[in-house]
């Protein structure tokens, strides 16, 4: 007897979720993968600094100050005879912390402001946007410098100052995303079945406007690290013994004629890390939303 039932195998569709999808698209781009690798190395350095650093980053030895690289001290020693490699590895922690806090301040304040501004429109939108315009009229790092001048120098104040100056950028970004989504039918449908403002904002507007914000945050990580290092370089950031890349560069600057390695390596580290976040950010933009491609 032949079984009359047709034995058709159901095609197997693997559900891997949107994250996997983004990663698959990301993995097709060499530059984006390079960025991802750099960012992962940076994260590992920050997380496992005590295990990776060959020496104590604070242990100084004036007898060996400005010593050139050796096998024991691969990147040489700084102006106080401290191991530059170890200080760079520990410095990753500070940079990561700065980046995360700056972006958190920008997103946690900027996004709700932008969403509310776009959702409610009218007078609220007008007033908020004029305020955003004014904040954006401060060129580059200037607003951060003004805030630091008033708050006083130090790592916390650097993070707060740079964080505050990114708020208008997130507000503007969230606003334009929401304006585009607000008019979609599913939002109208949700409103017509009587959803509250809060429900519409939390369930529809914010989740659907996340892509540009994720892309912007990755790129902002680069800017935050760059700015914070710049402020450290100006002597406005961390207090001395702390290992921070910008401050290390500032320390080495004075010895550039006699021992260039002291300023070269921390700067190279800032450059590579920022490049990594920029590459990843560019890749994510292409993977998440090809329309944003410039």
């Amino acid at each position: 007897m032949v079984d009359s039932r047709l034995d058709i195998e159901k095609p197997v569709i693997k559900e891997r979720g949107p994250l996997w999808d983004v990663f698959r698209r990301l993995s097709k781009r060499v530059t984006a993968m390079m960025g991802l690798v750099i960012v992962l190395v940076f994260l590992l350095m920050a997380l496992f600094a005590p295990l990776l650093a060959p020496h104590d980053p604070f242990e100084h030895s004036l007898a060996h100050k400005l010593a050139t690289p050796t096998w024991d001290y691969p990147l040489g020693r700084d102006e106080l005879g401290r191991c530059i490699l170890s200080r760079i590895i520990y410095g990753a922690r500070i940079s990561l912390l700065i980046g995360l806090i700056v972006i958190s301040i920008g997103i946690l304040i900027g996004v709700p402001v932008g969403v509310a501004s776009a959702y409610f429109g009218g007078k609220v939108d007008f007033i908020v946007q004029r305020f955003v315009d004014t904040m954006l009229a401060f060129p580059g790092i200037l607003l951060a410098l003004l805030l630091i001048a008033m708050l006083g120098v130090g790592l916390h104040n650097v993070m707060i100052a740079v964080g505050i100056s990114t708020i208008p950028i997130y507000a503007r970004l969230a606003r334009s995303s929401v304006l585009a989504i607000k008019a979609r039918q599913y939002v109208e449908a949700s409103r017509s079945i009587g959803s509250s403002h809060l429900r519409i904002i939390l369930q529809h507007l914010i989740p659907n406007s996340l892509s540009p914000i994720i892309v912007q945050s990755t790129l902002h990580m680069a800017t935050a690290i760059l700015w914070a290092a710049g402020l450290g370089f100006l002597g406005l950031g961390v207090a001395p013994p702390t290992a921070e890349w910008g401050a290390m560069l500032n320390g080495g600057r004075l010895y550039i004629r006699v021992a260039y390695h002291v300023a070269t390596f921390p700067g190279l580290m800032i450059f590579v890390t920022v490049l990594g976040f920029n590459l990843l950010g560019d890749g994510l933009r292409d993977a998440l939303d090809p329309r944003l491609k410039t």
């Binding site: 401060f138 060129p139 560019d282």
Partner: protein, 307 residues
């Protein structure tokens, strides 16, 4: 039409300028501590503090205080420096031309290299030059200005001895700082020019120009470039303003006597009147540059004026 446009733009600028002065006013006064003590400086005696309080009208209502602050700005009075005792306006004006020179030289470098690289990369899309120049542009975006400055100084001043390392005495002193400060903008302008070029050369009128048998050179230089460069003008304008703010780091590296260095010195010595004055000036210049760019833009692209 365009006269009206300029007037409208000028009118829009007024509230932004007031907004900026209001933000600066608020930041300086709202933050913890007595602003009179803060503005008088750390070593001021009680008499001086009281004098500052009266001078700034800090005993008056906040709204009155703000009006007084604005009134003083219109009179050109930005207070006196805690450090030198000189009028802030005088301090700024003795340094500002240096920063302006540096910013203009940087934007010249950035425009020259950025636009050229962007056009070639756009016209020869996916070529080796395209990949290479866009990679270099990404490097330019990621490079810490202060590190680039130090590395250029190390190579061209200390090792090769071609240019002086610090100071602002001659044209030779200008070259390294201008390249340093312009690097970031070069990258941004190159990327913008390339994408704008790519957009334009796909348009119908370019296809028409090619179809009627014009040489590719003519198509690019006479037809495509004109429209492709319009958005680039905006970016160049925006960069000029950003450079004024970004000059801070470059000026420190090369000991360039501009307002960026003045600002950092003022922050480190808690010389608040100078900080307030420099920030106010740079933000105002930035807004004016944007205005000029917008007006220029409306001449280049007549469609803008009719919006």
């Amino acid at each position: 039409m365009s006269g009206q446009y300029i007037i409208r733009r000028l009118l829009i600028m007024i509230p932004v300028l007031f907004g900026i002065s209001l933000i600066i006013f608020t930041i300086v006064r709202v933050l913890p501590g007595d602003p009179a003590v803060v503005l008088a400086g750390p070593h001021a005696t009680k008499d001086v503090v009281d004098q500052v309080r009266v001078q700034l009208g800090l005993d008056k209502h906040p709204v009155k205080q703000y009006l007084l602050f604005i009134g003083n700005i219109f009179k050109g009075d930005l207070g006196t420096s805690n450090r030198t005792g000189l009028p802030v306006m005088k301090e700024i004006m003795s340094r500002f031309p240096n920063t302006l020179l540096l910013a203009l030289a940087s934007i010249l470098v950035a425009t020259l290299f950025g636009v050229t690289a962007g056009i070639i990369a756009g016209v020869k899309q996916n070529s080796k030059f395209d990949y290479l120049s866009m990679l270099v542009a990404l490097f330019g975006l990621s490079m810490p200005v202060f590190w680039l400055g130090l590395m250029l100084m190390l190579l061209f001043s200390i090792k090769l001895g071609w240019f002086p390392a610090v100071g602002a005495e001659s044209f030779k002193h200008l070259i390294l700082p201008a390249i340093t400060l312009g690097a970031n903008s070069t990258a941004i302008i190159a990327r913008m020019t390339r994408s704008s070029m790519l957009e334009v050369i796909r348009l119908d009128y370019i296809r028409t120009a090619r179809a009627k048998g014009l040489a590719e050179k003519v198509v690019i230089s006479r037809h495509a470039l004109k429209n492709a460069l319009i958005p680039v003008v905006t970016v160049i304008g925006l960069q000029t303003g950003t450079l004024l703010g970004g000059a801070v780091l470059t000026e420190i590296v090369f000991a360039w006597p501009g307002i960026g260095r003045l600002l950092v010195e003022a922050i480190l010595s808690r010389d608040y009147p100078v900080v307030q004055g420099v920030v106010l000036l740079v933000a105002t210049v930035f807004i004016f540059v944007n205005l000029i760019v917008d007006i220029l833009y409306s001449y280049l692209d007549p469609r803008i004026r009719y919006h």
